[in-house]
């Protein structure tokens, strides 16, 4: 345990941004990791090295640089496949992020497979990126969008799922593995086994899960899986869509253009092999390389070690926050069902005011609806404050958060 503690102290040294001060010479305490994470030198250097030494377009030219760039790009695909335990690398598609991944499924799978009166099921705690694409699709098709409700503990009511599955009209059930607001870890095993029994496909939004815990797509048994690079130490603008090959083979392209074709004639085109059929245009090569470095970094630490670190931090924070008078925490207190995300409201003080006052102390938390307005409505709040943790956070930083909340209490005379 001593050595684990020591290694987490060393981790901070890899993140140059954590050394800077903000506002009036305050040490930065970065607690908005559910939104995006900071980047270690290893990732920054990998991108830098790519542009300094290997930059070329991939998959085409025969010269040395192009070969190197292609190799780096494709090596990252292998790293991704290995990281989430995907057996067949051609099922891994590089996209811009989780949002684009879900839109790709809604467009390229949904438009060919959904018809009038069919049902897509999502949940009340989804991010807008797992609601709006389905609203667009169901509206276009005259289909319906239904929601699995949530209890006051922030857990899904799976009776709702049974009810919709019983109609025989559900084509897809889509849910996040970890809620970006409540931190709830969905009971994916039960949801997916119910869907499988009903012959219904499942999409899992892994954006808040893959960075924080071991995720095994094979074991999960879903059909579509999406996540983002920038929430796991990688650069912005790169994300992953995994699709089971038997489904991917039936899907039409998302974008048309270069690299996704086999032969183009005046009036017809044949498609390239998987996964290139779904990667039109010059991809975000440098950031794919950066994501590969992020995966190496996380793998070196070990996802189980990371999960344990976040459990320690989250338990500590839940304990400290629940001692603050007037502070309401949303979601379950059961740490085994919760990721490192804590949403709260502090008496009658608006989250924006909380965030601004503690920002003066150098503390960065998120305030607002967190792209989850359906959930805000369900919780009957306009907004929440949210602290979310990652590998470089410490208990001292949580103490700093608690101290800064005392300042809020003082200003607002709580």
């Amino acid at each position: 345990m001593q050595s684990a503690q020591a290694s987490f102290e060393n981790i901070r040294k890899d993140f140059p941004i954590l050394e800077r001060t903000v506002r009036e010479n305050k040490t930065l305490v970065y607690l908005d990791n559910a939104s995006t994470t900071q980047k270690p030198n290893q990732v920054i250097d990998a991108i830098n090295d790519y542009y300094r030494n290997h930059n070329a377009n991939i998959h085409r030219a025969v010269y040395a640089l192009a070969e190197e760039a292609t190799e780096l790009y494709e090596k990252s695909r292998d790293k991704v496949a290995n990281f989430i335990n995907v057996k067949n690398r051609v099922e891994v598609i590089f996209v811009r992020g989780t949002t684009e991944a879900i839109n790709l499924v809604a467009y390229a799978w949904g438009r060919d497979n959904l018809k009038e009166d069919d049902i897509i099921v999502t949940t009340e705690y989804e991010h807008h990126s797992n609601i709006v694409p389905w609203q667009l699709l169901t509206r276009e098709k005259g289909a319906k969008l239904e929601y699995i409700g949530m209890n006051d503990n922030g857990e899904l009511n799976l009776d709702d799922l049974d009810k919709y599955l019983a109609t025989g009209k559900v084509k897809l059930v889509t849910f996040s593995l970890v809620s970006n607001v409540l931190g709830t870890i969905s009971d994916a095993e039960t949801i997916i086994s119910k869907c499988k029994a009903a012959g219904v496909l499942t999409l899992v939004d892994g954006a808040q899960a893959v960075p924080h815990m071991k995720v095994d797509v094979e074991k999960l048994g879903c059909d579509f899986f999406a996540f983002s690079g920038h929430k796991m130490l990688g650069p912005t603008g790169i994300g992953i869509l995994w699709v089971r090959k038997s489904i991917l083979e039936t899907m039409n392209p998302f974008h048309g253009g270069g690299d996704m074709i086999r032969e183009v004639h005046k009036y017809e085109t044949t498609w390239n092999d998987l996964p290139y059929k779904f990667e039109a245009g010059t991809p975000n090569i440098a950031d794919v390389v950066g994501l590969g470095a992020a995966i190496d970094y996380l793998s070196n630490i070990g996802m189980d070690v990371i999960r344990q670190h976040e459990i320690d931090l989250t338990s500590y924070a839940l304990d400290k926050l629940s001692q603050v008078k007037g502070l309401r925490i949303y979601g379950t207190k059961d740490i085994s069902k919760r990721g490192g995300v804590i949403s709260f409201n502090f008496a009658d003080v608006h989250p924006h005011d909380v965030a601004q006052i503690i920002d003066e102390e150098g503390i960065a938390i998120r305030s607002g609806h967190h792209c989850a307005q359906v959930l805000m409505e369900r919780l009957n709040v306009a907004a929440t404050s949210r602290a979310s943790f990652y590998i470089y956070n410490t208990k001292e930083e949580i103490d700093a958060l608690i101290n800064s909340l005392n300042k809020v209490a003082r200003i607002f005379k709580l």
């Binding site: 009658d348 608006h350 989250p351 924006h352 005011d353 601004q356 003066e360 306009a382 200003i411 005379k413």
Partner: protein, 146 residues
């Protein structure tokens, strides 16, 4: 000014006890808008008699800055004639609360109610005036608030 200095006594008081808070059931015009960034949401109801804002109330959810500015704005607008209300500027509202140097990210909190007021006004004028040029100008004013 330090950003935390904006949380002075007057702001806190107005946020706790907003003035002109509520609804006007027999309003002549009502308008709603929200700030997608933070979820602040404001409705303004107005009663207009003889070209004058005879009563004005607001309701909704917002941060302390938003609530304080809505209080001050409705107080400024009350009793004024339509032309005067049209000319209320952002500095009138911000100045009243010493928020002239508010950081960009919070300006939208402060000015949401002014945007709603101007939108309410042009929707009223749109119904009651034929001068479409005038209405367009007002729309432009509202759009350029930030």
């Amino acid at each position: 000014m330090s950003n935390a200095d904006i949380y002075h006594e007057m702001i806190i008081d107005y946020s706790r006890n907003p003035i002109n808070y509520g609804k006007i059931e027999d309003h002549d015009v009502t308008f709603h808008d929200s700030n997608p960034l933070c979820g602040d949401s404001i409705d303004i109801d107005m009663k207009i008699d003889d070209n004058k804002v005879s009563d004005i109330k607001f309701h909704g959810k917002g941060c302390a800055i938003c609530m304080a500015c809505s209080s001050v704005l409705t107080e400024i607008a009350k009793g004024k004639n339509i032309d005067e209300v049209r000319n209320i500027s952002k500095t009138d509202v911000l100045g009243e609360l010493g928020l002239e140097n508010l950081q960009a990210v919070r300006i939208k909190c402060a000015l949401l109610s002014l945007k709603v007021l101007k939108s309410a006004l042009y929707s009223y004028l749109g119904k009651h005036l034929d001068d479409s040029q005038d209405v367009d100008k007002l729309k432009e004013e509202a759009a350029n608030l930030y």
